[in-house]
Structure formats: structure tokens, C-alpha cells
Symmetry: none
Subunit: 212 residues, 4 copies
């Protein structure tokens, strides 16, 4: 998506325009191939074939496997929402379950971890992942906290810097715990675990907020 968008921003106004169908077909084919084959056995030639597209068409839009997979997986995270369930605890449980569900999908499991691994040596890729995937989920933390503060479940933040640090910490703790449980421990994120986790997290946050 990102690639396609960028190419249109400063794109030429002459020549045959790029096919929008091709973009969609390639991303869908990429997700299908991730499900069937996993990241390491996914080949761009195969993706092109599945998409009914020539390899050159694929390379015209994405620089390589990593960029393609990031874009293919990023879309899956856009469906995360934070419906108002009435209490902070319920909100957290809701988002944890949704997040775990996305991570449990085979295309996410295999694709996301692999590009994260690659990103440790490729700053451009890391930035792309951060932009397309990670940072977009921080909104959930901010929204949930704001809602809880309206409800009086959490006190308002003292200053903006504290607020940002705290949001980052919460994000690391929530996303980290779910990622670890799902992808590393490879255990299910089932209701008991969610309840336990939410309880510990909320008590910790509450204590930290009122504490010294």
C-alpha cells in the first residue's frame, strides 16, 4: 500500500498507469503464500504467479521480500479496535484478545517475526515496520487511557513527558506479553491468562499512579 501510495504522490502523469488491481492481488497472494508456505519458503516468483502478475510488476512496486511482507501484514493490524466495554479492565481484555487473535493468524506469526528479525539490521525496514505496524497500535493505549481517565479509573497525567513515557511502558508491557505468550511461549492467550494478566497490569498501574 505504502509503496503504491508513494509512487502516486510524485508519480508521472504520462504513460500507462499502474494497475491498482495488481497491488491488491499481490498483497492478497502474499498473505496466502505466507499461510501456506511461511516466510522462508515464500518466493517472490511464486507470489507473482499466484497474483497472475509478472515478477517485474512486483519488483516495480516493492524492493524485496521484506518490504512486501510488511505491507501485506500491516493491513491485518488495521482492524484492531477499542470498543467501549464500560470498564478499563474490560477494555484491556478486549484489546488483548483482539491483538492475540491477529498474532495467532499464520500469516502474521510467520511474516511479522521474520521481518522484525530482518529489521534488526535494516534501519529503513525498521522504520517502515514502526510506521506501518507498531506505532499505529499505540493509539489503542492512548485512547483506552483517556477513556479510563474520563471514567475516573485512572488519575490524569501530571505532565506530558510522564504521559508519553507511561504510554510507552504500557505498550511494551501489553504488546510484549501478548507477543511473548503467542509467538515465543507458543501458549494460547485464553480467558484465564487474559484475566490474570489484566489483573496484574491494572493493579500495577493503579498502584504506580497513586504511589509516591
Amino acid at each position: 500500500m505504502v509503496a503504491a501510495m508513494q509512487s502516486r504522490i510524485s508519480g508521472p502523469r504520462t504513460g500507462r498507469p499502474r494497475s491498482a488491481e495488481a497491488d491488491a492481488a499481490i498483497l492478497a497472494a502474499t498473505r496466502a503464500a505466507l499461510v501456506e508456505l511461511g516466510w522462508s519458503k515464500l518466493t517472490l516468483g511464486d507470489v507473482a504467479t499466484r497474483a497472475g502478475v509478472a515478477k517485474t510488476t512486483l519488483y516495480r512496486r516493492w524492493a524485496g521480500k521484506n518490504e512486501l511482507v510488511v505491507d501485506a501484514v500491516a493491513a491485518l493490524f488495521d482492524e484492531l479496535e477499542l470498543p467501549d466495554r464500560g470498564t478499563l479492565a474490560a477494555d484491556i481484555e478486549g484489546v488483548v484478545i483482539q491483538f492475540a487473535a491477529v498474532l495467532a493468524r499464520p500469516e502474521t506469526r510467520s511474516g511479522l517475526m521474520a521481518v522484525l528479525a530482518e529489521s534488526t539490521r535494516d534501519d529503513a525496514l525498521r522504520e517502515r515496520i514502526r510506521t506501518s505496524v507498531v506505532d499505529r497500535q499505540k493509539r489503542l493505549v492512548l485512547e483506552g487511557r483517556a477513556r479510563a481517565q474520563v471514567r475516573g479509573e485512572l488519575p490524569p497525567e501530571a505532565d506530558a513527558s510522564d504521559a508519553a513515557r507511561s504510554a510507552d511502558l504500557i505498550f511494551d508491557m501489553v504488546a510484549g506479553a501478548v507477543v511473548h505468550r503467542t509467538l515465543i511461549s507458543a501458549e494460547p492467550v485464553d480467558p484465564p491468562w487474559v484475566r490474570d494478566f489484566t489483573r496484574v497490569l491494572l493493579l500495577g498501574l493503579a498502584g504506580a499512579a497513586t504511589g509516591p
Copy 2:
């Protein structure tokens, strides 16, 4: 190491014996190559050359890139310790910092994430990682908790099942937060973060232990 050991279980007693130096040289070369090249550009041919060994020698001991990298990285985690720092908070801070230091190494960043990605589609590999890397760190949780219970900082567990569930949760939360902070957020695990994290975690655990 594991591969080498296994091969000796039912190993031959005749012919030229395998070189022990080769094992060590290969693992060291693998770590060096991970640092320089990262997982995706690491090639077994190159590792063999660096180790001064033929490719056949390498394949005689490890089935492929993944197995080799797991063994090469696993050793790095064995150096984690839990020195008694007097309080549970200090103990947690200590292990978090150590853990983060190991994850921050380039050979771990790139190698570990990649094999974790592969493990999502390869049960044998997942088991190997769990055995060689993940489960070995749970001892730190168990040891720290036992020590805190002796000190009276935490109440004893009611029953064994609860104890196990709780240890798993703590492990997911600690390891998950550090992994996410280090490898995904790509932000430093610096003292302020460690302090904030430990504070939230401890308050949460304490609250959960005493509460209903």
C-alpha cells in the same frame, strides 16, 4: 552442541573421531557471522570457511541453518544469573538488565528473532528453542520468587498449579516486555525504564497475591 551430543549417543566407535575443535570453531564462526552479516545473509558455506572447516563437516553435525543458529545463540543465555541483591525489586531489576544486555547483542537480535520466526512453522525447531533457550530462563523466575518468599516479600503459593500458572505469567510479562522494548520498539532498556517497569510489575504482583 545438542546435535553433537546426540550424535555421540549412538556414535561409532571406529574410524577417525570427530574433531571437538571443529564444533567450537563452527559455533564461534556462526556468532561472528551473525554479528557481521545478520541471519539472512549468513551462509553455511561462509561459516564453514570462517571456521576453517569443510561444509560436509558442518552438515555432519547440524541439519541446517536454523539448528546451527539456535545452538550458537543458546550459549549466550547461559550466562544469565540471579545474584542476591537483597530485595525482590533489586533482583528483578538485575535480571531485566542482564536479559536486555543479551538481547541487545547483535548476534542475538538478528539470530534469535529469525529462528523464532522459523519456529512458527516448524515444531521440532520450536521444541529445540524452548529446550535450549526459553525454558532455561524460567529458573530465574522460580528462583527469584522462592527467594522473595523466604524474605517474606511474597506469600507462599496456595497450590502447585497456581504456582506454575503464575510463574508462566510473570515470565511472559518480564521477557515479553524486555523483548518488545529491545527488539520491536527498538528503544533502550535504560535505568528509568527498568525502574518504572519493575515498579508496575511488583505492585501488580503484590496486589494480585493479596487481593481476592
Copy 3:
């Protein structure tokens, strides 16, 4: 040229007419590219760019690389002439030197041999070469012989069939020797060689004409 002409024979009478400049620019660009790159590295896209023309414009006129190169090279042969130098020997030497000069040009060397090679498997191409390049040079043989017969240097032919056969043989011998010397032996067609060759050829022809 041929293509362009043909297209006009049954051409439409409406719509924008084809640009005559484009034809010339393309052929000139083709010759330039042949000089710089040789046949095998010449690409139609590059020729189009050099000519300041779109690829479609090129393909509208020529079916492919071979046809284009034939037309580009054919023009070079039209400059061959047979000025009357007074004797048959001098006439032959003159035409041999001219012919060698055309063959020695880089665009001819590389282009002509390549399309000849292609023509061994493509009858239409062979016919095109014969029409555009080869047969047009036979006129030199016929003209030279007629002139020599007028001068009394050669006897008149007994019958037309003999005359044709003999002209073909002379053509094969002259053109063959020059082509072989230039393109295969890759030795210069210098005055001593021309003198030697002409002497042997003339003595042979004279002997054959008078002999049994």
C-alpha cells in the same frame, strides 16, 4: 525503408501520417548503436531512445531486430560503384577495395554477419537480405564483364545460361574471398593482397574462357 514503403502502398489515407524523420532517425540510431555496441548488445529500446522515438513507433515499422538491422545496413552497400578504370584488372581491384571498405566498417561487420547467421533459419529474412543487399551487388559483376567484353578483354558468352552461371561463380569468388579475408581471417585487404587476388582470378577466368 522497405517496410516504410510497403506500409504506404496499401496505407490509409486518413489519420496522422507517419513521420519520415522518425524512419531516418531510427536507421541512423541503429547504425550508431551497431558501431558502439555490436549486434548482440543492441536493444530496440536503446535504439528508440537514441532516435528520440517511442518503442511503439519502431515496432510499427519493423517486425524486429533483424529486419531493422538489414535495412540499416543495406543502405551502406548502395554506395558501391564501378568507375571505369580502363582495364578489367583495374576495375576489379577498384570494386574489391570498395567492397572491403564497406565490410570493414564496424556497423557492417557486426550487423551483417549476425543477420546472415539468423537468415540460415529464417527464409523471409534470407529473402530480404538477398533483395536488399546481396543481389544488388551482382550488377557490378555484370557491368564489369560487359565492359571487359566491349574492350575485348573477355570473349562474349556462348549462351545466357552459361553467362548466368559464370556470373554467379565470379560473384561467389570475389565476394567470398573479400568476406573471408575481412571477417573471418580478419586480415586487411591491402594492395598486395588485392593485386595477388585479382591476378589469380583474371588468369583463371581468361584460361577458363579460352580453354576447352
Copy 4:
């Protein structure tokens, strides 16, 4: 052949030796592909497949299509011989017919001309062709002339330099005429043509030898 030989001259004495069967299979497959497809549609991937060999094996021995085709075609010229037919005229006719037969083969027609075309821009290739193909046929001229001198059909050469120049000229004339007749005029080298050609050539040579 040449490539294989060279690689063995300074070749290593360790490691698995190159397969001699592969060499032969590749050259045979190349000739077969030349017959079926011609030079321009011949692909190295297809040759490798026909030979039952990997592309890398092929590229380990030959630098590219041109080198491969030269070696594949060169072998065909080694079968030319000069059996003693009693007179110089008969000897020449014999070798002309043999030479024409080799050139008329589809693998030679298409392959040889193409590499000659390439050689006009590649000195190494020209040298290779000269060594592998062209110069080896000069022996026929030298042998035939020597035999004719023994028989008294031709006078002995005055000095070595003249002898060499004369041999080159004869070679250009014989080979050139046959090449032109076969590949360019695309007319058959049939007995009448051979007789006419031989007659003109011999009379010319005889006249030149005796004349001033």
C-alpha cells in the same frame, strides 16, 4: 574441449574432479539445440537440461554462449581430410565438397556464422575461433600444395614469405567461395559449381606461378 583442457592444465589436485561425461554431454546437447533451434533461440538453460546437467556446471566450464558454441562447432571441422585422389584438381574438388558438407549442416550454418558475427567485437573470441576452427583448416591447403609440388603440378615456392602469402590467399579464395556460396548465396555446392570453381582457381594459380 578447450575449456576443459585448460582447466586441467593448472587444475587443482584436490576435491571432486570435474565430470568428463558432462563435458561431452554438454557439447552434444549444444549441437542438438543448434540443429533444432538455431543460435538465437538456443538458451544455456535448455542446453543444460538436455545434457542432464545443472546450469552452474555449464557456466563452470564455459564463459557464455559464444565460447560454448565455438567448442561445439569446432569438433565438426576436425573430420575434414585430404585423401590423395591423384591430381591437384581432384584433391581440391574433394576438399571443397567436404568443406561444403560441413558448412551445410544446420548446426554449423547457424552456429558458426553467429559466433563469427560476435567475434567482430570480441578479440578473445576471434582468437578462439581462429585457433579452434580456422587455422586448423589451413593444413589442408599446405598439404595439398606440397603434394602437388611433389607431383610436379605446381612449381616449388621461391621463398617462405611468398609461400605463406600464397597459402593465405588460396585459403581465403577456397574457403571464402564455399562459405559465400553456401551461407550467403544459399545455393548448393553441386558438382558443376565445384568443377567450374576448381577450373578457374587452378588456371589462375598455374598462370600466377608461371607468369612474371
